[in-house]
Amino acid sequence: MDILLQQLINGLVLGSVYALIALGYTMVYGILELINFAHGEITMIGAMLALAVITHLAGSGLPVPIVLLAGLLTAMAGCSVLGYAIERVAYRPLRHAPRLAPLITAIGVSIVLQNLAMLIWGREYISFPPLLPQGWFDVHGARVTDVQLIILVTAGILMLVLDNLVRRTSLGRAMRATAQSPQLAGLMGIDANHIISLTFILGSALAAIGGFLVSAYYGLAHYYMGFLLGLKAFSAAVLGGIGNLRGAMLGGLLLGVIESLGAGYIGSLTHGVFGSNYQDVFAFLVLIAVLIIRPAGLLGQNTADRA
């Protein structure tokens, strides 16, 4: 088995999920210059909702794709409502307050979501019902499972759709205009509040898909999973250049690969001093390194105020 190729594939799969979640961070930041701290928890809620529906329908005899789709759509709908509500309740009233204020409410919201999830779904790990295809195929000595393929294809299609949505449709044009200047966009007849709400809804729906995919990949969901996932996705957004959609996609894929290669090789590189249990450190190291060396990110423009 080719280890390098295997780690690359694993990294790309995980990275495509990071990219989906990172898109939510980057869209919100692009418009509001706010780090939506609760985004990771929205991802978690998405995974939990999807798993709840799928577990419920698993024994009903419905065909598997319909069960999975029902779970996914429920999660997307639930998270969209949640994202909209969070923006209305916790962020909109503070739009002109000092920057610390919305950040603190964001932390508050994520604590609330986490603990609500714990109260509803319990402290235990929830496992994905055994509905997913178990097959795999061989690519030059590396093993690609069906689930990995599904994740890659889904994430790829979604990214293409979003990219075209933002670049080609009138909604996308309105979003870009609002990101550049809400006041001027308002003068052109764009309702900035409307666009901001839509951005939250779109980002949250993507996060729900990301949560669903990641729980399908690991076969698990947990009320605490959103924290680390959100942090990694945020690192990915910063790596690519926050506010930049293609940057978030690139950053997500890169971070996944870095993490996977790092965890795979750190043991032999350091002669066993550090092991793969340091995997989670890589995201933070990448984040700190990017912020020091190139705060605008790989694809971001170097604006002085940004970092």
Partner: protein, 352 residues
């Protein structure tokens, strides 16, 4: 002497007597465990005052503050436990712990100086997690931190042959370990409060306020941004390290789990709730948020006694309530319970 000054003195005297008698009253009144709770409240007050320097004074949002607490605690634990067979005296261990924490504050501060607001928050959060991951994993190949099991059998806080954990009931009835810790922590908390108050209106404190309110204007007025930000990080971290060392000695046991992100957030909550930048507010916030969960625990007992079973477990609700309180506080009273006058102006004046 004017009348008002005399009445102020009598208020202070009453307050002092009340504070001195408090542990005995608690012991006699609602039970011994409450003295320990108050001890923890004082430790958290020190921590919150340290973080208040960084967040409240200098306006740098630090979400990994608990890492400095961890550094202080682990330095104490390593130098005063069977882990390496070292048993150093307190006067050496506490300053070393505080200095190590201060140094890590500078190490964190230096690369992140250019970042502001939310970026800084995320990086410090990452830093806190990195420290925790290292504490969790540094048990191999060389066992330093003993990994997730943590370090136990740590020496109690001791001065010469006087150990704060041993009862001295023969000297004075009721002088138990927690009561002695209470006096030690009270003295140190008052010292930290004094330093924090003096800092606030000093040249350094005013420089921090200027940086917080407008970095550009501060720099234009000749304030050296880098040095003053580093100073804020270092001072905040030093207080955190001090509290961490005391925590290790008080608890006799440290493990990485005591230093997770939620602890950082909790300390931030204390500051936000009490009133960012206001020393008395911060202490009030710290005491409220330490005592409240314990009081909520009594609510669980009450349910058990009067309703026969626990309907809602207060432990589960604790963090939920904190989260809601954070959001509500920011929306309704963003400057906290006891507002700092300067902060209040800032929060009121910024709205267009």
């Amino acid at each position: 002497m004017s009348h008002s000054r005399r009445s102020a003195w009598s208020t202070y005297a009453a307050l002092a007597i009340g504070l001195l008698a408090l542990p005995f009253l608690l012991q006699a009144g609602i039970g011994r465990s409450w003295v320990r709770i108050i001890d923890m409240a004082l430790l958290y007050s020190m921590l919150a005052l340290g973080l208040n320097i960084v967040v409240g004074y200098a306006g740098l949002l630090d979400l990994g503050y608990i890492a400095f607490y961890a550094v202080g605690a682990y330095v104490y634990a390593l130098l005063d436990s069977p882990q390496f067979g070292l048993h150093w005296p307190l006067w050496a261990v506490l300053p070393i712990g505080a200095a190590c924490a201060g140094l890590s504050g500078v190490l964190l501060g230096a690369p992140t100086l250019r970042l502001r607001g939310d970026y800084l928050a995320i990086v410090t959060l990452g830093f806190g997690e990195i420290i925790r991951i290292f504490l969790n994993n540094l048990n191999e190949p060389v066992n330093i931190t003993n990994g997730p099991q943590g370090i136990c059998l740590i020496d109690s806080v001791h001065l010469g042959t006087f150990s704060f954990s041993h009862n001295h009931t023969t000297m004075l009835p009721g002088l138990t370990g927690p009561v002695q810790y209470y006096y030690l922590f009270l003295a140190l908390t008052l010292l930290v409060m004094f330093i924090a108050l003096r800092l606030q209106d000093s040249r350094v404190g005013r420089a921090w306020a200027a940086i917080r309110e407008d970095e550009l204007a501060a720099a234009a007025s000749g304030i050296h941004l880098r040095n003053f930000k580093l100073l804020a990080f270092a001072m905040g971290a030093t207080f955190g390290g001090l509290a961490g060392g005391l925590f290790a000695g008080f608890q006799g046991f440290v493990s990485p789990e005591s230093f997770n992100l939620m602890e950082s957030v909790m300390i931030l909550c204390m500051i936000v709730l009490g009133g960012m930048g206001n020393v008395y507010g911060v202490v009030l916030g710290a005491i409220t948020l330490t005592v409240l969960p314990e009081a909520l625990r009594m609510l669980g007992d009450w349910q058990l006694n009067h309703l026969g079973h626990v309907i809602v477990d207060p432990n589960d609700l604790r963090m939920l309530i904190f989260g809601l309180a954070l959001v509500a506080m920011m929306l309704i009273r963003p400057a906290g319970l006891i507002r700092s006058r300067r902060h209040q102006r800032e929060y009121a004046g910024d709205r267009p």
